[in-house]
Symmetry: C2
Subunit: 487 residues, 2 copies
Amino acid sequence: MSKDSKPTIEDLKKTLTLIVGQENILFANDNADADTDNSKMQPYLEESRQRKVGVAFAVIFPSTTDEVAKVVGTCRFHKVPMIAQGGNTGRCFGCQTDNPNAVIVNLKNMNHIREIDVENQTVTVEAGCILQDLQTAVAEKGLFFPLSLGAEGSCQIGGNLATNAGGINVLRYGNTRDLTLGIEAVMSNGTVLNELFELRKNNTGYDLKNLLIGSEGTLGIITAATFKLFPPESNSEHGFIAVNSVTDAINCLQQAQKRFAGKLSSFELIPNIAIECMEKHSQLKCPIGNQHPWYIWYKIADANIDKPLFDENITFLDELMNDGLVIDATVSQNEAMKQHFWQIRETIVDVQKYEGISLKFDISVPISAIPILIEKGIAAAKVICPDIRPYPFGHLGDGNLHYNFTCPKTMTDEEYLSQYQDKLYETIHDMVDGLDGSFSAEHGIGSQKVADMKRYKDPVALDLMRKIKHSFDPFNLMNPDKVLPKK
Amino acid sequence: MSKDSKPTIEDLKKTLTLIVGQENILFANDNADADTDNSKMQPYLEESRQRKVGVAFAVIFPSTTDEVAKVVGTCRFHKVPMIAQGGNTGRCFGCQTDNPNAVIVNLKNMNHIREIDVENQTVTVEAGCILQDLQTAVAEKGLFFPLSLGAEGSCQIGGNLATNAGGINVLRYGNTRDLTLGIEAVMSNGTVLNELFELRKNNTGYDLKNLLIGSEGTLGIITAATFKLFPPESNSEHGFIAVNSVTDAINCLQQAQKRFAGKLSSFELIPNIAIECMEKHSQLKCPIGNQHPWYIWYKIADANIDKPLFDENITFLDELMNDGLVIDATVSQNEAMKQHFWQIRETIVDVQKYEGISLKFDISVPISAIPILIEKGIAAAKVICPDIRPYPFGHLGDGNLHYNFTCPKTMTDEEYLSQYQDKLYETIHDMVDGLDGSFSAEHGIGSQKVADMKRYKDPVALDLMRKIKHSFDPFNLMNPDKVLPKK
C-alpha cells in the first residue's frame, strides 16, 4: 500500500497470505465459480451440527506462535475481527460469526507436542493438537492425561482451554483449568504472553493463566499450554448399578466418596429413557435389568497395581445392597466389560438424535439440590409441553447435569423448537439460578448463552468482565459478541 | 461537611467512625499522650518479625461485608489508600505501608463461618476467620479442610486467599486457589462481587475468582469464600527417612507417587543442618540417626479406614531399601509418633532464628532441577560468603524450596544483611530464573519482591497486570505499591 492511502482489503489479503503462505489461507469469494475456497471454507464456518451457519472474510491456518502473532497484529491494524477456532466441536456457537469481515484463525496447524517431561510429569503442547492425540502420546511415555470427553477424537486442546472443558474425569482430576500449569497466548496487540511454566506453585502476580482459560478467545488466542500429567490408572474397576431414585444415587455417591476418596474418577447418572433409547438405536445392551428408573456408571482407579481394587469394589456394592440403596448391580470382570460400560455412557449421548431434536442444558447445582431440580424441572417442563421427554444424564459426581428434553413423539423438530425453546430455557435456567446453580457448567457461553449472562450473571461481575475485555482488547476485535452481553 | 467545602480529614474520621463504631477504629495521633491509640495500632502497623515498621492514618475493623463496602466507598471518595489486612503473618510486607494517609482495613471482626454444608462438602467462611478455627469447625462436622501451614494458629483465611497460600498438603490437595469454589469481594468502587458459589463446575464468563485470589488486596478486598471440603484423613501413616542425596530424595518421591498416587499428602525435604539445629535448640530428637545428609518426612492418607496403610508403607520402605535409596528409616507406630514427625517439620523452621538471621527464599523449580539448584546455589553462595550456612528445606513434592541461608557464626545479623543480602538474592533468583523457576512460589510479592517482578516477570504479563489494575482500581487506592513495579 502507498504511504498516503488507507489500507485496503487487498493489502489485508496480501499481508495475511505473505504470513502463512497461500496454501494456509482461504478467502470468501462472491463468485462461487471463481475458485473452490467457498466450499472449502464451509466446515469452518458452520457449527458441527449445522445449527448455525456463519460467514467470514477468510479462514487462516497459522503454523507457529509467531505466525499467529503476525496474523493478530495485521488484523488489528486493519480493525478486522478475529475468531479463534479449534476443532469446532463446541455447542454454544463460540467460533462462528455473522460478520463477513471477520477472519477465522484456525489453530489446527499448530498441533505439535513440544515436550513431554517424564521426570516432572508435565507436557507442553500446542493449541491445535487433538485431545486424543495428546492422550495417546503421553500414554506412550507411561503417563496419563485425564481430560476426557465425547469429542476427544476431534476437539483440540486450544478449544478445551478456551472453554475450560470438563468431561468424565473432573470428579478426580478437575477440569481443564485444574490441569493447566502454564500457557502461551497471543494478545490483541500482537504481543505474546509467555507463561509456559511447568511449576506446581508460582505466586508471582495476577493469575493471567486462569483469566485466559475459559475466556473463549475474547481476550487473546491461546497458542500452547503446559499440563500436569499423572500416573496411569493401571488398576481400575468399574461398576454399573440401578437405583430407585436420584436421592439414592446421591447416597451411593457419598458412600463412594467416603470409601474411595481420591480413587473415584467418574460417577455418572443415566436415566431409564436413555437406556431404552440406546437399546432401540444401537447394538448395545444394558448389562443389568433394563427397567429400572436410574442407573449409575462409576469408575475407581489407582496407579498402584499391587493392590487390585476388585475386592474393594465388591465390598462397596455389598454395603450399598445392605443399605437398600441398590436394586441391581454388576462390576467389570475384564477390560471388555469396562469398555462396554464406557460405550454405554458415550452412546446414550449419540442416540438422542434418533428420537428427534433435544433442547440441551449444561447446568450445575449443589449436589444436594439435584433431586429437587430433576423433580421440579420435569414437572415444570410437562406443564409447558405435556408430552416432552426428559432425558437428564451426566456428571452427578460434580453436580453437572446434561438436563436434556427431547421433543414429543408427535411433533416435528421445528414445531418443538419454535413453540417451546425459549420458554423451556427460561424456566429451567430460572430454576437453576434459584438453586444457586450455573446455567453453563462446562460448555461455556459462546453466542448462545449471552442472553443468559445478562439475565443471571452478577452485575458487578459483568462490570469487571467488561473492564478486563476493554483493557485487553480496546477495539473489540477478539471474538466480539461472544461471552459478554451488550450493556 | 458543608456543600461548598472540600471533604476534610475530620469528615473522613467522622464517616469511618460512623460506619464501624468508635470501638472498631484506631486513629494515629501526633500527640502520643493524648490517647493510647498509637500503641494499640502498633501490632497492625509492623510486620510480625519487626522487619518492617509501617504507619497509617487509621486501622479499621469492619464486621460485615456491608461495612467493608462502606469503608471502601468512603476511602475512595477521600482518595485514601486502603490496605487489607488479615492475621498479618505474611513474609513479604504485603500489609504494611509507608503512607501516613493510608487506612488499614483489618478483617479480624469478620470471622464467622457462614455455613458448613455437609452434604455438598463445602464451607462458606468470612475472611477474618483464623485458619485453625476453620479446620477445627469442619472437623467437628466430620470433614477436612486441607490447607495447613506453620502460621495456621494466627493467619486468616482472607490472607490465605490474598496470597494463594500453599503449605504442607499442596501435593495432594493443591493450594488455596485449588480449594476455592467461590468468593465475595468488595471492589474499589465499593460494589460487592458476589460469586459465593458452591459449584464444582461453573463456566459463566471470566475467572474473576482466581484473578482476585493471589492479588494481595490490590484489586479488591476478599470478604468471604466458599471452599471444598474432603473426607477426613482418618487413615494416615507417616514415614521419616534418611537419604544420601537430593537426587535420591527425588527418586523416593517418584516411587511414592507411583505407589500412593492421590494418597500422598506431604513429602518434605529436611537437611542435616536443620536436624542439628533442632536438636541444639529444642527438646526434639531425630527419630533416626542424626548424621545423615538429608531427611524426608512424608505422609500418606486415606479416608477409608477399612484398609490400614501401615503394611503398604512398610512395603514401600522395603522397596526403597532394596533399591539402595534409603540409608535409614522409621515409620509412625502411633499418633504420638506422627505428631513427633510433624513437630520436627514445624520446629526446624522456628529454631533457625537462634543461629542468627537467615536470608530466606521461597522459590520453586521443576522438580528435576532441584538437585542442580541446591548444588550450584550453595556453591555460588559460598563464593559470595564463604562461611554462609545453607539451610534449604521444604515442599519437595511440589518443587517449592525454602532455600534459606543463615548468617556465618562469626558475623552479626546487621553485617550479614548489609554485605550479602542484595547480592545473594540476585544470585539465587537469577539461577532460579535460569531454571524456568519462580522467585515466589507460595508467599507472594508484597512490597518485598516488587523489584523481582520488574527483573524476572514476562513484560507482556506485567503489561496485562497493569491494565487489569488500572481498570479495577483507577485511582490506585487498593494496597498501592504492592505486587506491581512502577513502569
